[in-house]
Amino acid sequence: MQKLQNKNNNLLISILLILPAFSIYLILLLYPTGQSVYLSFFKWNGIPQVPMKYIGLNNFVNVFKNPYFWVAMRNSIYFMIGGFGVLMPIAFGLALIITGKYKYKNFFRTIFFMPVILPITVTGLIWSYVLEPNWGLVNSLFNLNINWLGQPNLNIWVVVLVNEWIYAGFNMLIFASGIVAIDETLYEAATIDGASGRDKLFYITLPLCKESFKIFSVLCVTGCLKHFDLVYVMTRGGPNHVSEMPATLLYSEAFQYRNFGNASAISVIILVLSLIASIILNRYLNQEDL
């Protein structure tokens, strides 16, 4: 009897322990995500008193017809290209430095990682002023006259590079954790066999860091759709929408053009693409381990 009562007690306590966390999560993340899907089938201007009108898949049609949406998708791909082409080599190179037998490596590690902890708004503003066309640091140091953040086709790449400036130190640690996990005796054996430093890098370090490269790839691909803050602070998606990202476009559709249906459709596209990306990439990651 006493035992049964304890059991029931424990069930009640378990429910009470889960309930607060679960309800906050349910009401403010799970339910809103579902509601985005629901709203994407309606035309609505965001004003509570105005009724919503069901229009089927028309919002998606509008979004796919919107040239700025494709600009945003292209810019997401630029972030991915920058990730693999610029961020990955820099981060891997920095990882080699901080795992090698060099002096001051703890100092370097601390400095390299630092941009990640700054609020993105801070970093974005700092770089906006450093790159300011009339009096900014870069133009006045090198006597240039380039409108880094105002010139179409250039500004999105500038933002991509600032993004690599922020995250190089962070990804450095992901590669470093792969490098330090490599058995030291492999290098010793290779040295005895007469392998050069370059041989060791290409035949030991790189292949055995495969896991880190996979983690980097997952973060890079799933992350490239979600960039918002940096672009929004540095260019606001402009001029004339050339530097839009899916999330900045969502924001302007909703809060500038009051087109909440189209904005919800963009939410759903971001949602579906990032779920597909993380499920496929994670499956691929785990399969390779077996």
Partner: protein
């Protein structure tokens, strides 16, 4: 195997010679990257003490007279003092709620075997993959309906909801690895379920709880878009929201703007100075998710 002795010796010679060269190159690269990281931050710090005349076109120069008034203007006139206070308490409260509720739920998810445990745990895992941008419109809608616009408590709960899945994922994973003998022994000694949680499980789980706390705090302190959507009253602005106010704004005096940037970055820089190892490890663990 086919290498002759002579070649082998040459090879060794060249490799010792190379090692010297390589380390010089490594130091040059390391100092160069450290410079690229630190120089924009240093210039920003210097500009925060300058007048307009010394900023425009001469961002790289040191201030000839140190204008401390910039900081007074930033903290009082630009209301950065208020924003700093708002951000710190919003970040602190949402972090506290995240780890307290997250640990409670994780304890049940990791230790009990009811039928509803697995589905709920899986729902939390899904939350780790959900892009928060997909909730912008519904969150805005919920805020309008329940009077959460322009209120700090709603923002705190939103941040909590966004951080809970990750916290639950990390903490549950850790708690599963704690030996069951510990809590069985405590139960035999008459410890209740709650007693086991607070006397045994939480103290043992402190490393992962502090990781979850670090991630939640950094997120909440730097979050921009939801503060832009939800806060309209200047006295309620958080640091990123207040700094965002400066973008695209042609202010008469730039000194106080730079001072505001420094003020906004300062808390994170101070925290990072003391906890850099923990923060680095925590952020990598958060990205790799276990």
């Amino acid at each position: 195997m086919m290498v002759t002795k002579q070649e082998n010796m040459d090879f060794n010679n060249s490799s010792t010679h190379k090692r010297v060269d390589v380390s010089v190159i490594v130091y040059v690269i390391a100092f160069l990257w450290a410079f690229i990281i630190l120089y924009p931050l240093f210039v920003t710090l210097m500009c925060s003490f300058k007048t307009n005349n010394e900023i425009f076109g001469k961002m790289f120069s040191l201030p000839t007279q140190w204008v401390w008034q910039n900081y007074v203007d930033a903290l009082v006139d630009a209301k950065m003092g208020r924003a700093l206070f708002n951000s710190l308490y919003i970040a602190a409260l949402s972090t506290l709620i995240t780890i307290v509720l997250g640990s409670m739920a994780s304890y049940v998810l990791a230790r009990q075997k009811y039928k509803f445990i697995t589905p709920i745990y899986l729902l939390f895992i899904v939350g780790v993959m959900l892009p928060v941008h997909a909730t912008i419109i519904p969150i805005n809608r919920i805020a309008t309906y329940i009077g959460g616009s322009n209120s700090h408590w709603f923002l705190i709960l939103v941040y909590t909801a966004f951080q809970l899945p990750q916290a639950v994922f990390l903490i549950t994973g850790f708690m599963k690895s704690i030996s069951h003998e510990l809590d069985e022994a405590a139960t035999i000694d008459g410890c209740s379920m709650i007693g086991v949680l607070f006397r045994i499980i939480i103290p043992v789980s402190m490393p992962i709880i502090s990781t979850a706390a670090i991630l939640a705090f950094i997120f909440a302190y730097g979050e921009l878009i939801f503060s832009v959507i939800l806060l309209s009253d200047i006295s309620k602005f958080t640091v990123p929201r207040a700094l965002f106010y400066f973008t695209g704004l042609h202010t008469v005096r730039m000194g106080p703007v730079f001072a505001s940037i420094v003020v906004g970055a300062l808390p994170m820089v101070i925290i990072y100075t003391f906890l850099n190892q923990r923060i680095q490890a925590g952020m990598v663990a958060g990205a790799i998710k276990g």
